[in-house]
């Protein structure tokens, strides 16, 4: 059974190995230079100089100036999201449907091997290959991107909650061990939908749709609540205001955004609270509607605003990685169990 599974899976395995090899070469050729640049700009040893904000910004400016680095960094993120989806589509969905469409499951199911074992071996072997592939991608790309990720984590956040670091939703699923969980889940999802739909192409489409939906739901609605977020409340420091939005006339709405300095944290929300205890929305006074910045800041200082930041601190990063990976691995196991149950209890034809 192991031999047959390997024999049927061989082509896909070679494709994955070739993709891994090509990307490994591209990353190896540029990764050493990138690491060197990180050292050379002083960002690596910034803690000793006590000026991480400036040094990491210098490093990032060098990186942004290079098209290759930018393309590889963004490409790496894209690959780590695409790889699990592709695994689900091209390894998971056809695993059973292909046998149904050619009728070969009737050939396979009449050997001296129960169909439970037939499916268990397929699920186990290809599932492990899926996790290994995603794991290797994550390891390689994570190594290559580590200087940039560290620089992003060090950069003092001068811009509210918009700066990206490895904890922010866009990067979180493309770093560490989460791609492994995604790959296992996408694969099991593909097999499950294949078993239920029994046609390869519709099963592939459904896999992509459900997988994308699951990832988006996870990062929007589930992940922020895995551990209760921390709240930091402090008086708004007028020297640290990063944005004032106001209408042109006196009395028009106005919002104020204070800067957040939480390197490596995932900032969920950053609100400015007025004296009434609610989010400050104005009204704008003459000083801010048409006066100078200094005058406006002085006026804001007189309002006694407070800043409420809701965030997940940087130290929780790995806890979140483990939680998220465990959730997707558990989902994958449930789906695999469902497939085995379905094939035992129900028919495929």
């Amino acid at each position: 059974m192991i031999w047959l599974t390997w024999r049927q899976f061989r082509t896909q395995a070679w494709v994955a190995a070739a993709a891994l090899a090509v990307i490994a070469v591209a990353l190896a050729l540029t990764g050493l230079n990138l690491a060197h640049l990180y050292d050379a700009t002083g960002a690596a040893s910034c803690q000793a100089h006590g000026d991480c904000g400036t040094l990491s910004t210098t490093f990032m400016n060098h990186v942004k100036a290079s098209l290759t680095y930018k393309a590889l960094y963004d490409g790496g993120v894209a690959i780590l999201y695409a790889a699990p989806a592709l695994i689900g589509i091209f390894w998971g969905a056809p695993l059973v449907t292909r046998e149904v469409e050619t009728g070969t499951f009737r050939l396979a199911w009449n050997q001296s091997v129960t169909r439970t074992r037939w499916l268990a071996v397929k699920l186990g072997l290809v599932g492990l290959a899926a996790m290994a592939t995603a794991g290797l991608f994550s390891l390689m790309i994570g190594w290559w991107a580590s200087p940039i990720d560290r620089a992003l984590g060090l950069a003092a956040d001068r811009n509210g909650s918009s700066v990206i670091n490895r904890f922010s939703p866009l990067l979180f699923g493309a770093r560490g061990i989460t791609p492994l969980g995604y790959a296992a889940f996408a694969f099991a999802l593909g097999v499950t939908l294949g078993v239920l739909i029994r046609r390869t192409v519709p099963a592939m489409a459904a896999t992509l749709a459900v997988f994308t939906g699951a990832l988006i739901s996870m990062s929007l609605w589930v992940r922020p609540h895995l551990i209760a977020p921390l709240h930091a409340i402090s008086a708004l420091n007028t020297a640290n205001i990063v944005g004032v939005m106001s209408g042109t006339g006196s009395g028009s709405p106005m919002t104020v955004a204070g800067g957040v300095n939480l390197p490596g944290a995932w900032v969920l929300s950053n609100q400015t609270i007025g004296a009434s205890g609610r989010v400050f929305t104005g009204p704008a006074t003459q000083a801010c509607a048409s006066g100078s910045i200094q005058a406006c800041n002085a006026h804001i200082g007189s309002l006694h605003l407070r800043q409420l930041v809701t965030y997940q601190p940087a130290v929780r990063y790995w806890a979140f990685q483990w939680y998220e990976t465990a959730i997707f691995l558990a989902l994958a196991l449930v789906l695999a169990g469902f497939c085995v149950w379905w094939i035992r209890r129900r028919r495929l034809s």
Binding site: M1, I2, W3, L4, R7, Q8, T102, G103, T104, R106, L107, W109, N110, Q111, S112, V113, T114, R115, R347, S349
Partner: protein
């Protein structure tokens, strides 16, 4: 002798439609059983139930005294060639034999290799490139080299040309002659079944109409011709399967265990094909307006 296949009240429903209903059978061992019936009669359904690919909706089925496909040991005792002889298109002939070696404890590698050699198949050729006849032969080889006690073949020759059909049946007969194996094969090609089968099951519209040894069928069915007369005057022990009349003459297919001595009736032997056709039209006459359904493949 124990039964190779025993079913009681066996039925299978696909959504609204019963593909097979109230099927009670007991097939003795050592026969080559022909399963015939029009398209959509439930032949494939019955065979899939026997191989454990399907689960019955009602009733029970036992194959060689065990539940179909219940355990590896049970699976090892039954060889099966599904309709259209599925094979892995991307795997070579040698690959097929190799994977079977791994998956079947009783695998007879010599038998398999001998057969492949005698059939003139190139072991390196991919199964997807084989002709229909070669593929059927490969599938049969895979099934019989398991050394099963029961071989189940679903329309193995339907898609083959006459020559390939004959070769296939010949190699099947060679195998059954040399080994103690029972065979159940379905087909709607009566002429071919007539040559190889010694037991016949006729399925029409999901019901078993006839299940008996061929010899017994031929021995108890007679085609009698006589002057047309009132059916009430026909001998009481005659079971009339079909009757056709001209102005003056009646031709009847009757089932009777006693010889017909009355000189008013001219008696003829009937061939298996005519006999089956008579039963099929009887069943169809019993259900008027019912058009034959399309063959159910899945």
């Amino acid at each position: 002798m124990t039964a190779v296949l025993q079913s009681r009240g066996l039925g299978k429903r696909y959504r609204q439609r019963w593909a097979l209903s109230d099927c009670t059978l007991s097939l003795p061992a050592g026969h080559v059983v022909g399963l015939v019936g029009p398209n959509g009669a439930g032949k494939t359904t019955l065979l899939h139930l026997a191989t454990g690919l399907l689960r019955p909706t009602t009733g029970t089925i036992e194959v060689l005294g065990g539940l179909p496909a219940a355990s590896p040991a049970q699976l090892a005792r039954v060889g099966f060639v599904a309709q259209d002889a599925p094979t892995y298109a991307g795997l070579s002939v040698a690959d097929h034999l190799r994977q079977r070696t791994h998956l079947n404890p009783g695998w007879d590698a010599d038998l398999a290799h001998d057969r492949i050699e005698r059939l003139g198949l190139d072991p390196r050729q991919r199964a997807g490139k084989l002709s229909g006849g070669q593929r059927a032969q490969l599938a049969l080889t895979l099934a019989i080299a398991k050394r099963p006690e029961l071989l189940i073949l679903d329309e193995p020759i339907a898609s083959l040309d006459p020559l390939a059909r004959r070769e296939f049946l010949q190699s099947l007969m060679e195998f059954t002659a040399g080994h103690r194996v029972s065979v159940v094969m379905s087909s709607h090609l009566m002429a071919d079944l007539e040559r190889v089968c010694d037991y016949l099951i006729l399925l029409v519209a999901g019901r078993v109409r006839v299940a008996a040894p061929v010899e017994e069928l031929l021995g108890t069915h007679r085609l009698v011709t006589g002057v047309r007369c009132d059916p009430a005057t026909w001998p009481a022990d005659w079971q009339v399967i079909s009757a056709s009349h001209t102005d003056r003459q009646s031709t009847l297919l009757v089932r009777t265990s006693d010889p017909v001595h009355d000189p008013a009736w001219a008696v003829e032997q009937i061939g298996l094909e005519d006999l089956v056709l008579a039963y099929m039209s009887q069943a169809q006459a019993a259900a008027p307006g019912r058009t034959p359904a399309l063959e159910v493949q899945r």
